[in-house]
């Protein structure tokens, strides 16, 4: 009798302590669902199949993460500019959304180690008269507002003092504007550019060389104060590379040698 009371007390104490200290990682495991913010107009990282279901590298990555946590994955479609708001507003637990790890953003959101890296290329139309990055000077260009390459392109246009920059709210709108001739060029990550050109959905789009930007390392994002979760995510990314799953997913969605995720001569 005494023993059961003691046990009950202990149990209650554990429960109380448990709820008092539950962090995001605990919440995810307790709720049984992992809500990932994924951008779905950004093939091959995220897009929709013929039945309008989400597919892509980021979708698979989220599913892997959910499996590792032993929970169900829920893909929440999030346009680029809405990724961090979605996170801060608690609509999603983790952003698996090709988020470049800029210092400005790290003031608001918590970043993991890189899980992917992009190079940027110039995407234009055959008849736009753009042969390389320098030809974008004086043209009307566009990109997704607030992205790594979008911010740099806007700054380029401002520095050139010539031409026009249009920030669109989604990658789809940028491609649509480019194919319609509303803009003459954009700077976009190479994987997305080649996937868009190969898909043949847009007539006349061509890649014209690299943009002279540093490699765009992208990371998973979680709330800044959720160290438990961020720790877990760092280890998860490391395991994905170590087990070869990273290369496997790269083969499936992009093809070739997966980009190196380490930076020479510096620790993270």
């Amino acid at each position: 009798m005494k023993k059961t009371a003691l046990l009950g007390g202990l149990l209650a104490a554990t429960c109380l302590a448990g709820t008092a200290q539950a962090d995001k990682l605990d919440d995810i495991m307790a709720s049984g669902t992992l809500r990932c913010a994924v951008v779905l107009d950004f093939p091959p990282m995220g897009s929709r199949d013929a039945d309008n279901n989400p597919i892509g590298f980021d979708v698979d990555y989220c599913n892997d993460l959910a499996a590792a946590l032993g929970v169900e994955a829920e893909i929440v479609e999030t346009p680029f500019p809405d990724r961090i708001p979605a996170l801060v507003s608690g609509r999603v637990d983790v952003g698996v959304a090709s988020t470049s790890d800029t210092l400005e953003r790290a003031k608001t959101a918590g970043f993991t180690i890189p899980y992917f890296a992009f190079t940027n290329v110039v995407l234009t139309r055959e008849d736009a008269g753009v042969e390389g990055f320098d030809d974008l000077k004086g043209k009307t260009v566009g990109s997704v507002g607030g992205t790594y390459e979008g911010i740099q392109l806007e700054d380029n246009i401002k520095a050139w003092g010539d031409g026009d920059f249009r920030p669109y709210q989604s990658q789809a709108d940028v491609f649509l504007a480019l194919s319609q001739g509303q803009i003459d060029g954009t700077v976009v990550t190479s994987t997305v550019a080649s996937s868009i050109v190969q898909s043949g959905k847009y007539d006349g789009l061509v890649i014209k060389g690299d943009a002279p930007y540093l490699p765009d390392y992208v990371a998973l994002i979680a709330l800044r104060q959720e160290y438990g979760l961020l720790n877990y995510l760092d280890l998860f990314i490391n395991q994905q590379v170590r087990t070869g799953r990273y290369q496997e997913l790269f083969d499936k969605w992009v093809g070739g040698e997966a980009p190196d995720l380490t930076v020479n001569k510096a620790y993270r």
Binding site: P81, P85, T108, R166, P167, Q169, A177, Q225
Partner: protein, 221 residues
């Protein structure tokens, strides 16, 4: 409850940028109203026409403007027309979309106002020897504007609010565009949008007040 730390200093520094945006917002709203009123008068008259070829297009304009979302109309002006090779810049697409919308709503307002003016007045003016157009311009129109003035003011406030939809077609110089641009760089959503909301409120109030003073002078309300 609040784990978030507000960073107002960052947002305050952006006030000059936001005010520049506010000017563009006001400019688009005023232009769209000026053109909207002009089109609306034409539409209101056309809607009373006996000829099907005049009546039908005017009716389609009014019904589409009133029965589809403004966001849809602006998106259509940019991307819809774009697929025909008609390229409207975000500024023009936004202006066109709001003008289209304003004209549709104002046409109904003016039509209602026209109906409220007794038909005998026009006949009286004609019997005094005024030509039809002159009678319409000098007798009917002033009364129509007098009756329709308050609803028109409301539409002006609407036009200001609608300018915020330009961000969906790549607009980055108006108040909403500037706000979103700062937001996506810093991700201080609450702080920056709160400042924008205050500025929108002040513009709307200033316009309402200005219209009221104008009405007192013009119509001696």
């Amino acid at each position: 409850m609040f784990t978030y730390t507000f960073q107002w200093r960052q947002a305050w520094q952006k006030i000059p940028l936001l005010l520049d945006g506010a000017l563009v917002t006001l400019e688009i709203a005023l232009l769209s109203m000026a053109m909207g009123v002009a089109f609306a008068v034409i539409l209101a008259v056309a809607r009373n026409s006996k000829s099907r070829w005049i009546y039908a297009p005017a009716t389609v304009w009014v019904e589409v403007a009133r029965n589809t979302p403004a966001l849809f109309q602006i998106y259509m002006a940019h991307f819809g027309l774009g697929s025909f090779g008609i390229h409207l810049s975000p500024y023009i697409a936004l202006l066109a979309g709001i003008t289209f919308n304003n004209a549709g709503y104002l046409a109904e307002t003016f039509r209602g106002a026209l109906r409220a003016i007794p038909g005998t007045q026009l006949r009286a003016a004609r019997s005094l020897g005024m030509p039809q157009t002159q009678a319409f311009r000098l007798v009917i129109m002033p009364q129509m504007f007098r009756i329709a003035f308050l609803p028109t003011t409301n539409q002006m406030v609407w036009a200001i609010l609608m300018t915020s939809l330009g961000v969906t077609v790549g607009m980055n110089t108006d108040l909403a565009g500037v706000t979103q641009d700062i937001n996506v760089r810093s991700f201080r959503t609450f702080e920056i949008f709160a400042l924008a909301a205050v500025i929108y409120y002040l513009i709307a109030k200033a316009v309402t007040l200005g219209a009221r003073l104008l009405a007192r002078r013009m119509f001696r309300y």
